[in-house]
């Protein structure tokens, strides 16, 4: 009787299967790579309405983070400063630079500057800056070397895995209170060791249970 499939069919079937297998494997690997939090959740760097350079202020001029983000050790929110704070200096410094147009405008009209939010956690996560800063967790742990960024960029995934890694092993991220905002801090010995000592002394026990952050 007539042949259903030519002789070569099986060859092609084998090749096809092999190709499919490779594609599946490759695709899976790719998905894992792309899906990896560090990859998909970082790198967000929006353009801000005012060309404010953290590198200049926090880095070169060496202003302390607290100066602008003055509620970071008092409240869950790290306040984005009122225009007032900018004007404390800029009434004299660069008083009529065109790049500060928006700032002066806001100060005169009382209309807020529309800063674009860079770092965010979902609504159901209750992150508290005060408790972290007071415990000695440096800004750098979540925000990176902001003092070297001209335009602020998200460098950490800020996902739950990241939170838990630190909550389960806080020592490497704990610093003496006076070094929290010193992003360039280079201790002479193993920072984790220092962290452990502080944890011992202060009895720091970060929550690992759900209601610690989800309410």
């Amino acid at each position: 009787m007539a042949l259903i499939f030519p002789k070569s069919t099986d060859k092609y079937v084998k090749i096809g299967a092999a190709v499919l297998g490779l594609l599946a494997a490759g695709g899976g690997a790719l998905a894992m790579l792309v899906g990896y939090p560090k990859v998909i959740m970082t790198g967000y760097q929006p353009v801000q309405p005012v060309p404010y350079s953290h590198k200049l202020h926090a880095g070169d001029l060496g202003m302390d983070c607290y100066y602008c983000h003055y509620t970071v050790d008092k409240s869950s929110h790290a306040a984005v400063p009122p225009t007032e704070v900018c004007m404390n200096c800029h009434t004299r410094v660069k008083a009529n630079s065109p790049r500060l147009e928006k700032v002066r405008g806001s100060y005169e009209t009382g209309k807020p500057i529309e800063w674009v939010r860079v770092h965010r956690v979902p609504d159901y996560v209750f992150f508290n800056h005060q408790s972290h800063v007071k415990a000695g967790v440096s800004c750098i742990s979540c925000h990176g070397r902001v003092d070297q960024m001209i335009e602020v960029k998200q460098v950490e995934p800020l996902n739950m895995g990241m939170c838990l890694d630190c909550h389960r092993n806080p020592a490497p991220h704990i610093r003496p209170a006076d070094q929290v905002t010193n992003l360039a801090w280079k201790p002479d010995r193993d920072p984790a060791e220092i962290g452990r000592e502080i944890i011992q002394a202060r009895g720091i026990n970060p929550p690992e249970y759900c209601s610690g952050c989800h309410r």
């Binding site: 259903i4 499939f5 939090p37 996902n159 739950m160 895995g161 838990l164």
Partner: protein
């Protein structure tokens, strides 16, 4: 079930009537498919149009549900589960007959299974497909449940399922069952697909050819094939028992009076077989009439299934009685109340529907006249289907609606969405079935032929075999076909 084995080796039961030749058998089955291929009877299209539109209705309801919320159903506090899980258990239960026939009856060497197992297995798959809708869509956020219930990584954090939860056990049990049943079904199909391939022409031949993977029926194939089939049967037997046991754990491991019962696993399994066979009978009665295969699916087959329904139905009835006794005997007031409430409370109507359909009606099958009457068994099998649905509803709703604290007691009333969704699953079920009978051999031809050849041997050997039915195989000169007969 060994008591269902054919008692007397001398009188071989008529499992195929009119003593057709093997070729005629092949034709009878294959031509159902091919005949349709050439000119499909208009009835088929009408049927498909009806079931198809009901299926669309199902999808519409599910879409509406996902878009709006579980609130479109009647579920409430305290009746957190109602028709959703009732339908799930109902369909899963129906999904037990197929694998049971293929596996357990195979191990018990029930030759009569060969004419109905393919059909029953198909039914199993479609029933499980319908069942699988509910565990997913009864959740408040199915788009999350879809992958959070499985041990898969997730971008935010690898939070894992809770393996203490019977629902997770369910996910494993039901998905395993679905997979294994599908494999079992396909393995059984391969030789017949080869047969179809060798009869077909053109595109059909290509398709059947591809599906049959170049099956040649070589002795080397058959040897591995039989081993695989035997192993699958051996695996499926505990599996089929485990599935409904695990489903029953959803209730048995809870603290709720009326759910927290050790009798559930066996009693659920019995109930599942009961409902499964009922559904097979319902559909088979229609199919054998519609496709004129009465000589392949004989009264004998149907009668055997009715016997099994009689047996399992009685087991189920006994379980109901035991529940009551234990509730009384436990002296636990909550336990006692739940059962009194079942029989005499707001859901008494459901309870007595269940009793009359599941316990009383199958008793008619004690009479041979009735259990061999096609019309009667058809009606009765439908009653059993209804009864078994109500069993699940009674267990779920009547236990939930009045539990420990009277302050939180309530009542459940279904909404039109509840009703149409359930109706829709029947649409899906039947649509799949229509495609099955249209494109695949609904009877395991190779097995039937094997069995016939074996009975042929029997005649030639004019029953010189030993008195024991099981031994006959070994005794007859090494020419006994195996599938459907066993070694």
């Amino acid at each position: 079930m060994a008591d269902l084995a054919i008692k007397d080796p001398h009188v071989t039961p008529v499992l195929v009537e009119g003593n057709p030749s093997l070729h005629e058998v092949t034709n009878d089955v294959a031509q159902i498919v091919e005949g349709i291929n050439r000119n499909v009877p208009v009835q088929w299209y009408i049927a498909l149009a009806i079931t198809g539109s009901i299926t669309l209705l199902l999808f519409a309801m599910l879409g509406y549900l996902v878009a709006t919320g579980i609130g479109v159903w009647g579920n409430n506090q305290p009746v957190g589960w109602a028709w959703d899980i009732t339908n799930f258990v109902f369909w899963i239960g129906i999904g037990h007959a197929g694998t049971l026939i293929s596996a357990i009856l195979f191990l018990f060497r029930q030759k009569w299974r060969t004419s109905i197992n393919r059909f029953a297995e198909a039914m199993t798959l479609f029933a499980v497909a319908c069942a699988l809708i509910y565990p997913l869509f009864h959740t408040g956020r199915p788009w999350r449940a879809a992958y959070w219930l499985l041990p898969l990584p997730n971008t935010h954090l690898w939070v894992w399922p809770n393996f203490r939860s019977p629902l997770v056990w369910d996910v494993f049990a039901v998905s395993t069952y679905a997979t294994v049943s599908a494999l079992f079904w396909y393995v059984g199909l391969v030789p017949d697909l080869a047969t179809m391939r060798d009869r077909a022409t053109g595109l059909a031949q290509k398709i059947y050819g591809a599906l049959s993977l170049g099956w040649r029926g070589s002795a080397r194939h058959w040897r591995n094939y039989e081993m695989a089939y035997l192993i699958l049967a051996g695996l499926s037997t505990p599996l089929v028992l485990s599935v409904h046991s695990v489903v029953s754990f959803d209730f048995a491991t809870s603290v709720l009076p009326g759910w927290h019962t050790t009798i559930f696993p066996p009693y659920f399994v019995a109930g599942a077989i009961f409902s499964g066979f009922a559904m097979v009978v319902t559909l088979m009665v229609i199919a054998r009439w519609a496709f004129q295969i009465e000589h392949l699916v004989t009264i004998k087959h149907l009668e055997n299934m009715n016997k099994i329904m009689l047996a399992t139905g009685t087991i189920v009835g006994y379980a109901y009685a035991t529940e009551f006794f234990i509730a009384w005997y436990s002296g636990n007031p909550y336990e006692r109340f739940v059962f009194i409430n079942r029989a005499f409370g707001p859901y008494a109507w459901a309870y007595w529907t269940m009793i009359s359909c599941n316990v009383i009606s199958p008793q008619f099958f004690w009479f041979k006249k009735l259990r061999t009457s096609v019309a009667f068994m058809f009606v009765l099998s439908i009653f059993v289907n209804i009864g078994m649905w109500f069993e699940r509803f009674v267990i779920i709703a009547s236990s939930l609606h009045r539990d420990f604290l009277p302050s939180s007691w309530g009542y459940f009333v279904p909404t039109w969405v509840d009703i149409l969704t359930f109706l829709g699953t029947f649409g899906l079920f039947l649509t799949l079935f229509l495609f099955f009978v249209r494109f695949l051999p609904m009877i395991a031809v190779s097995e039937v032929k094997g069995m016939m050849a074996h009975q042929q041997m029997h005649h030639d050997a004019h029953g010189h075999a030993a008195k024991d039915g099981a031994k006959t195989h070994d005794a007859s000169p090494g020419l006994t076909p195996v599938t459907g007969g066993g070694h």
